[in-house]
Symmetry: C3
């Protein structure tokens, strides 16, 4: 069994953003040399997400408005976590979007459906944060 590990770092200029990382994960897979197995990709921070959906701008705007409705940022004081913090909403938004994805590796490729794209979801940006890529297989 082979294993491969890499961290990918981000420093986004806005509090919230979605970044398509599919290409970076394909690069990791190439470097790993793994042909058959599983790829785990997870946020290493608890106010960020890795998720799979469509790379379509309108949908990303819908996601932003929807998450803001389900777990609004303001007023910061509505959350008990926000004592010397202001990011409780980011913890909740990431809970809906999920921490991680597990993707099959088949014949040396990410085994994705035709529209599946992998995203980093940032909900408390403007600082350096990272995700973990772990690939195991043969």
């Amino acid at each position: 069994m082979k294993s491969f590990r890499e961290e990918l770092w981000f420093e986004l200029p806005t509090r919230r953003a979605f970044v398509n990382i599919t290409g970076q994960l394909e690069n990791c897979l190439q470097k790993s040399g793994i042909q058959e197995g599983l790829l785990l990709c997870n946020a290493m921070h608890i106010t960020a997400s890795v998720f799979i959906n469509d790379d379509e701008r309108g949908l990303h705007e819908d996601l932003e408005r929807w998450l803001e409705k389900l777990a609004p940022e303001h007023p910061h004081s509505q959350y008990r976590h926000n004592v010397g913090e202001d990011n409780a909403d980011a913890h909740l938004k990431r809970t809906i979007m999920g921490r991680e994805v597990v993707v099959a590796v088949t014949a040396g490729r990410l085994d994705l459906g035709p529209w599946e794209q992998i995203f980093y979801g940032e909900f408390d940006g403007k600082r350096r944060k990272r995700i973990l890529v772990k690939i195991v297989g043969e």
Copy 2:
């Protein structure tokens, strides 16, 4: 390390439905010959879900009503994604329900709790769609 891959296809007559796929996944596991490892099952479409919950009709009705409250289908025009599309709500519903499950394989069986059943969750049906089953282990 062994690996096994299979696609399961669905064409459901309604926009939304839940289908118990536990038996089909057990069949995949038998075919794979894998005794110890992990099974990944994921929707290959971004308007569908694979999830684990109870096979109980009342609960499925509750899920349908609850998802419709959190991410209503109508009016289609409330979503920016819905320009030439009408399935933005399906992307959001699948986000809540999750894309994938990872299930332990122990002694050649799906290592599930007593009430755990695995479902395909369709949120934009009436067309051919598929899920991926990937099993790795020994």
Copy 3:
């Protein structure tokens, strides 16, 4: 390839609770002797969750209030599942929080970010319930 399996049991005195299980999972990993691979930890019950977030009391209070807003327990009669049952809300809350986490194992350690802690989330307690820990690797 090595594999390791263990069940962890809980009997919590309240209907809802969050329990930090990171230390117990590290103990499982030590016992397994696995250095590189993946750890799956999932609730074996469909009214409970395993999730990763911050070990911060204010945040846990926010999560409790937020889940109660999105999927209220009362009135029990609002749910069709609640015929001879009263835990439909627990099925919905667990859906938001997620069934499972997959964590990378690197150099014999759980490969977690600096604030990542793993929790058992109970939404229908006061009885014996369990989670599954499965580790595969080398």
